[in-house]
């Protein structure tokens, strides 16, 4: 028993409520989860992205906050890795390298991150490392897919990084997917027109529609081991969640998490009233919601 539990105590009410539904923990937690928890939407766009990565081209993935850009990227990485397990022909394998854009400050560090992602020795100097990528089509049959998350958020100089990516994209068998919020990406690409020209497809993730959001929430509950999720999340409550979140998955999950905590207090399934009470908005916000 930890000091925290001794002094403050556990949330027994919430735990017993969750247990009664067959859950172990909060099913709507926001932290990134495995492939199973990803509910696909805009399937055509995702298929296009996959095709892009297998052809050695450059693509950009944009969208508003919380629409699931990073989740899509992680899903792509995980699925590519899974396919590599079964594919024995090396010329058909695509090796994904996932890089968190906020973690580097210059193109030099970005290059090092790519090499580290390939589990190679990155302690050499810059020229040697770049030579390794330059000779990629000659020395390796596999294709390389570099997926950079939150590219515009890094503190690096946009011109320098853009030029570096442009040179990388010209190497055959190397494909790049960059990802960032719509406005930031526009601003970033405006600085580097050469990179913007080379981008094959720009995909903008829209908020989920009603069907997909329902799929997502039910998938979460199903994965967490809920016995009768249709009773826990009433259609009424779902409609309210959708209205509240406007289809953005992140805010929907946040609202659902709040709602399930509130539902434990009042001991009822998640319905419209619970959702409304749990996610109280100030008077001002409620009235001028269309401005937001």
């Amino acid at each position: 028993m930890t000091t925290f539990e001794k002094k403050i105590g556990r949330d027994r009410l919430f735990e017993s409520y969750i247990w009664s539904w067959g859950l172990r923990e909060d099913p709507f937690k926001l932290e990134l989860t495995s492939i199973e928890a990803f509910a696909p939407f805009q399937r055509r766009d995702l298929r296009k992205l996959k095709w892009l990565l297998s052809k050695g081209k450059i693509g950009a993935l944009t969208g508003a906050l919380g629409t699931g850009k990073t989740t899509v990227c992680e899903f792509l990485v995980a699925s590519l890795k899974e396919e590599n397990l079964t594919e024995s022909d090396p010329s058909k394998q695509i090796i994904p390298v996932f890089i968190h854009g906020a973690a580097y400050k210059s193109s030099d560090e970005l290059l090092r991150a790519i090499i580290l992602g390939l589990e190679m020795d990155a302690s050499k100097n810059r020229e040697n490392l770049f030579e390794f990528l330059r000779r990629w089509p000659q020395e390796h049959q596999e294709r390389l897919a570099i997926i950079i998350d939150d590219l515009p958020e890094s503190g690096a100089d946009a011109l320098e990084v853009g030029e570096f990516l442009r040179v990388l994209a010209d190497i055959t068998n190397i494909s790049i997917l960059i990802n960032g919020t719509f406005k930031q990406m526009e601003r970033f690409l405006a600085k580097v027109p050469a990179l913007a020209d080379r981008i094959q497809t720009k995909i903008k993730l829209k908020p989920m529609n009603k069907k997909n959001l329902k799929e997502l929430l039910e998938l979460r509950l199903k994965n967490a081991g809920c016995i009768c999720y249709k009773d826990l999340l009433t259609p009424n409550g779902f409609k309210s969640l959708y209205k509240f979140s406007k289809g953005v998955p992140r805010s929907a999950l946040k609202a659902a998490s709040n709602a399930i905590h509130y539902a434990a207090e009042v001991d009822s399934p998640i319905d419209a009233r619970v959702v409304k009470r749990a996610n109280k908005r100030s008077f001002f916000k409620r009235i001028f919601s269309f401005l937001m």
Binding site: S34, I35, A78, K81, E82, N84, L85, E87, P90, Q93, I95, L116, G117, L118, E119, M120, D121, A122, S123, H140, E142
Partner: protein
């Protein structure tokens, strides 16, 4: 070799003659270089009717086989030690103008010893006949004292001949080394990731990256079973098994009845 046969008899036995252009291509030099060699007598050329230079095959073969036939002859003062002599040969053949290099080479040749008094400190390299020609025969190692002496003397006597005593080369003075006790060796070896992965010998890059994932998962879990590892990385257990087998073979994992324990630290 070109052989002209007429009516079953060998009439003439001519050597093949190359034109200037062909010879340049074979030798990899400029035509002017061949003309220069011809002037200096380093190469024999034939001038048949017309007066143009034709280079015989034997001459080209000679040049190709022995490249130093054109280069100056090897200096006589070079010692017989193979590595050293080849080094000196190289320096004096190609880098005569690089004074620093020549100086060092001469000092090495003279075994870090003054050839006049046998001193081993403050060494200088001296041109014997007063000119600045960097010939191996013309250069000698002297210590600062002897060097100053010689240069005063040189004004009186134009040619200086140092009296070199045949002396057994003294062993190099050993540097006083302070023995530092090595820091206590950690029980677990610390290795960078790529070295561990090199040892595992994965087939292809896809397996390499997968092994990388497995390695980082193993480093987090510390002690684990096969199932734990496979579940964490989301890969089939067969691959986790091969990974664990190779790791144990390299000594990075210790297996105890189904449980594995990592025995290596990942260097940052």
């Amino acid at each position: 070799m070109l052989v002209i046969v007429r009516k079953g008899e060998v009439v003439e036995q001519k050597e093949k003659l190359y034109k200037m252009k062909e010879a340049c291509k074979i030798l990899g030099v400029h035509p002017n270089t061949i003309r220069l060699w011809d002037k200096q007598g380093k190469i024999k050329v034939v001038r048949p009717q017309g007066g143009q230079r034709r280079i015989p095959e034997s001459e080209i073969n000679r040049l190709l086989r022995v490249p130093s036939a054109v280069a100056p002859p090897p200096p006589s003062t070079i010692p017989k030690d193979e590595a050293l002599s080849s080094f000196l040969n190289y320096v004096f053949s190609y880098h005569r103008d690089d004074w620093e290099l020549v100086r060092k080479a001469v000092i090495i040749r003279d075994n870090y010893t003054c050839q006049e008094c046998g001193g081993k400190e403050l060494l200088e390299v001296h041109h014997k006949n007063g000119t600045s020609r960097n010939d191996p025969d013309n250069l000698v190692t002297l210590c600062q004292k002897c060097y100053n002496l010689v240069h005063k003397r040189v004004r009186k006597m134009p040619a200086f001949k140092p009296s070199i005593k045949p002396e057994a080369p003294a062993p190099k003075p050993e540097k006083p080394t302070i023995k530092i006790q090595p820091p206590p060796v950690p029980e677990v070896a610390e290795l960078p990731r790529h070295k561990i992965l090199d040892d595992l010998k994965p087939t292809g890059l896809a397996q390499r990256t997968l092994f990388g994932d497995l390695l980082s998962a193993a480093a987090v879990l510390k002690s684990f079973t096969l199932g734990d590892l496979a579940a964490r990385v989301h890969c089939p257990e067969a691959i986790a098994k091969t990974f664990c087998e190779r790791m144990t073979a390299c000594g990075y994992l210790v297996s105890k009845n189904g449980m594995f324990e990592i025995h290596v630290r990942l260097a940052r």
